[in-house]
Amino acid sequence: MNAGIYSTGSVITMKCGASAVVKGKSGRFVQANDSGYIAQIAGTTLDIIGWVVGSFDATAASTAGDTAWAVETNIFGKLFVMPACHGTGTTATEAQLRAAIGESIDIILESTYYQYATTAASTYDIIIPYGYIYEKSGYGHQFLIVKPNPDKVAYATH
């Protein structure tokens, strides 16, 4: 192969860690574990490398590497929609969503697997809201339009 010829674009198929989970109504940010397999991020994760493409619900095979998902790696050049809350299990008001725009906030995991942007926490500041979707009051009906915060991402050295 003649490396240097091309860019591969921004979406790449990546192998999943054992039993990795992605949910449809959730943020879909992922990291890579020490073995090079992707896994869903937690609220404390700073090494975000991409966003799983699509809206499917899935659990990866119990053997690492046996499942692969397409990952959008252009995480700073695009906007991503994810559910929003104001702390675990707490509905975010429209005013709270609006006030978060342009500021950095945290991600939390709801019900173990669902990535939510929380307007109530600013410890890790890993995402920046650019806008919101407020469908109605009631938990699970608010969304933030976000990007990862380039000032906060950090990756392990090899």
Partner: protein, 158 residues
């Protein structure tokens, strides 16, 4: 001309410093020298400005500015393929390449003019690995799919 009047897109024709060597089977990361001319990235480069497009092999004119290359400046939104090694002159195994995904490593210069992604070096950490192509165990038969590590890019103040 009124600066700021128009958008040029993402590929820019840039004048090259004197006697810069561009190889096809190489990474094609470039920065600029103190005079504003392109120069090939090196093992210590942290001021990456772009990636030279195409598969051209060329040594630039011995007069700075006598040669121009087309540079893709939208380098953070895309993935790039470059040769990989595990320390100078040593091929990387497939397991080593896999384990490097999601982690950062260095550029190393092989045979003076060839930019390799060196997964055995982690001093500058300017590259973030997303994937690999493994064509065989021999040196020169492995490739890394990378982006610059946004957390490490630094530009000189003017």
């Amino acid at each position: 001309m009124i600066a700021g009047e128009y958008l040029t897109g993402t590929i820019l024709k840039m004048k090259v410093s004197d006697s810069e060597v561009l190889k096809a089977k190489s990474g094609r990361w470039v920065g600029v020298d103190g005079a504003g001319y392109l120069q090939m990235g090196s093992a210590t480069s942290v001021d990456i400005m772009g990636w030279v497009t195409g598969s051209l092999e060329e040594t630039s004119s011995s007069t700075a500015g006598g040669t121009s290359w087309f540079v893709e400046t939208d380098f953070l939104s895309k993935l790039w393929v470059m040769p990989a090694c595990n320390t100078t002159g040593v091929g990387a195994t497939e397991a080593e390449l896999l384990a490097a995904i999601g982690e950062t490593c260095d550029i190393t210069m092989e045979s003076t003019s060839y930019q390799y992604c060196d997964i055995g070096l982690s001093d500058v950490d300017i590259l973030l690995v997303y994937g690999y192509i493994y064509e065989g165990s021999a040196y020169g038969k492995q490739y890394a799919i990378v982006k610059p590590n946004v957390a490490k890019l630094v530009y000189t103040s003017h």
